[in-house]
Every structure is written in structure tokens, then in C-alpha cells.
Amino acid sequence: MRHALAALAAAGALASCGGGGDEPLKVTAASSLKVALTEYASDGVALAFAGSDQLAAQIRQGARPDVFVAANEKLPADLHAEGLTQPPVRIASNRIVLAVSAGTSAVRSPEDLARDGVRIAVAARGVPAGDYAQRVLDSLPRAGANVRSREPDVSGVVGKLLQRAVDAGFVYATDVRASRGGLREIALPPRLAPDVRYAAVVVRDSPRARAFVDGLRGAPALRAAGFGPP
């Protein structure tokens, strides 16, 4: 038993100090960045995606990724104001769009969202995609009453659309592009479309973390995924 315990302790010590030099750079990012960041990140970067608000809450609860990228500017700015991160850096812009599953016809225009029986999915309040969607819904009379699911992140909305669980949903233009024809965008009048800007913050300061954030600004991988200039 004594030997077994000693071996266990030795193994633990080895595991904790092994690989010190090539520890991966931990990046937590908004779900909508999945395609772009997976393309952008080099080897040695560990990516985790969720709703930006969940990731910000994790940082408030003591999680320490190296970099956090949000689908708005507010969450990174709040974290910075609370002394938890370096100052935010604006990295890209996006558009919130009305999307339907390709080949469906229940919704053809933003006005159709107010029709009886139309089912809409949005991200939850507090999630950037949900807040953007709420602003659009607030300016479309009666459409809000047709919201049937508030998903924890924008991926949930994409999933509900692709499974045709809902007739329409608010996602990012980049999500429509990433769906490779699975989703169709319905244009929003420009006056309804909110400004969507993404910002990154260094949480645990290091040259690698800074380089990662600096390189993100206008990165070709982001452009290729459909993001606009910062």
C-alpha cells in the first residue's frame, strides 16, 4: 500500500510539472467564432466555445483562460473595469440576421415573424446574440410573442433551425455562411440591424496571449469566415 501511494504521488508530481514549456494557450470564445478561430489558431492553442456571457461569468468566478473573445464589447469592457483583464481590443464586426432553414417557406420576411403560429428561437437575454435579437424583435410589433425558445448560445439557435424545430431564428451572418447552405438569410432592413462588434481581452498576461489578440484584428481567417473589419 505504501509503495502504491508513493507511486501515485510520484505520478502526480510528474504530471504537474511535465510539459511546462508547451502548455497550450487557453482561449475561451463566443460560439459564433468557432469556425473562424479553429482556422486561425495554431498548434498549441486550446479553444473552448460557449455563450460569451457564460464565459465572462466563468472569469468572474475565478477561471483564468489566457484570452477571452466575446461577441460584444460590453462584456470585455466590464471585465476590464472590474480589474480582471487587460483592456479590450476590437477585433471584428458581424451582422445579426434573420435565418430560416433552407427549403422552408413559413417565414419570408421580417413581417412574417408576427404571424400566428410562427415559431422563433433566439439566444437568451444576456447572451450577445440574444441581446442583439431582442433589439430587432422590440422594433417588430407582436413578433416577440412568437419566441418559443431562448437558447444558451447562438449554436443552440442554429441547431434548432437546422432541425426545423423552429421556423426562424436570429443568428449571425457568419453562422449562415458556416451552415454551407443549411440556412438561408432573410435581409433585415438596415434601420433594424444593430451594430455587432467583437472584442478580445488578454486575461492572463503573456507575450503569447498578446500576440494572439493582436493577430486577431482583421485576421484573414476572420474575413474568410465572413466577419467584417473591426
Binding site: A57, S101, S149, Q163, R164
Partner: protein, 255 residues
Amino acid sequence: MFRAGLVACLAGLLIFLALPVLAIFVEASPGELLASLKDPAARDALWLSAQVTAVAVAIIVTVGTPAAWLLATRRFRGRSALVTLLELPLVVPPAVAGVGLLAAFGPAGLLGGAGPDLVLETAGVVVALVFVASPFYVRQAQAAFAALDPTWLEASRTSGASEARTFARVAVPVALPGLGTGLALAWGRALGEFGATLMFAGSFRGTTQTAPLAIYERFATDFTSALALSAVLIALSASILVTVKLLPGRPDALL
């Protein structure tokens, strides 16, 4: 030395398992917890959880008890394969259950949306709960029936009672403690269901947002409220567990 090692392992396990549960009650004051339970959305979630888990458990018991009786008392070809299939949801990740339910009953699924609307409906939550929780009951019920003393059942049959009467008047009453344990385990699992519900039924206040979904939503926006809802779920789960432990005549082998 060996004994000390055993005690150390048990102590370590106890601390590890108890700490997160205790932390929920320590992190926020009782006053704060109670105050955030006044939030109508939190109450909606708890009330919905109470309703859907009750309906799901009722369905599971109604259908599961006869099914378990059949599995426990008959020997037929492919029986063990069937039992394994019925137990599969025990080990299938909830997200897989959600994908499976969508693939089967979703509008773009196998049945092409035939039948009642389930996706984004309260009925869909019940379906998800029945799927993930029923094996907990059926497994336990099957074990309880299999453990019955065959001479009792034989006595009932030779005294002229029909098979149905033997089942209802002898088997079920005698197996009741085991069935109660299964019911509690299934209820506990249903109460905690998250992934399958979210994927299959979505999350909407009052319709499909059960307490675990409300906790997840509040994690980002209102941690104290998430703690409060968690505290209620712990209290409920603990009382389910204690009730089972106190059931009269519970054979210890079953839990």
C-alpha cells in the same frame, strides 16, 4: 497502515463530494437565497419541474412496472439483449439523448413530425425525462420482482388466483420497497435532466425551462439566483433519498 489508507480514501471522497454541496449554502446567505426565490421566473421553473417530473414518473411507473414484471418472470430468447437495450439510456450522454429524440421525433426526424407536436412543448420535456429516467425505475423494479420468494407466487397461483391477481395482490405489494427505490432514483434523475431537455424541448420560461435550465441561464446573469435554485434542488433530491432510506422493509441489497 492498510486500515489508515482505507480511512484516508473514505475521508477524501467524503470531503470531495460534500464540499460543492455545502458551498452552495455557504456562498450566499439564507436571506439572499430566499430573496432570489421570490423571482417569478425562478418559481415558474421550479413549478414546471415539479409538474413535468411528476407526469414523467407516473408514466414510467405505469408502463415500467408491468414491463419489469414480464422481464423478471419470463425467460425468452433475446431477453438479455432486450434488457441491455432498455438500460442503454443509463449510460448514454444526455446530449446524445437530445440528438436521438430530435432525430426520431423532430420535424426533420425519422417520423417526419408525425404525431403530436413535442419539440419546444412541455410534452417534449416529459418525453425527454421519460427517456432518460425510465431505466432507473425498470432496472430496480426488475430486480425487486426477481428477488421475490417464488413459493409465495406459487402459493397464490395454486390457491386459484389468476396471473393478473398474483401480480397485483402479491408481487407488487411485496416488491413495493424496491419499486419505491426505483421510483425515487428515476425521479431524482428526471429532476436533474438538462441536456436532452435543452436540445429536444428548448428553453422557454413556463413552457420548457425546467429548474436545471433556469440555473444554467442564471449562471451568467445572476449567480446568487442560480445558487438559490440549486439549493432547492439539493433539498428536494436529499428528501427523495431520505424518504427511500426510511421506506419500511427496504431490502438493503437494493440501494
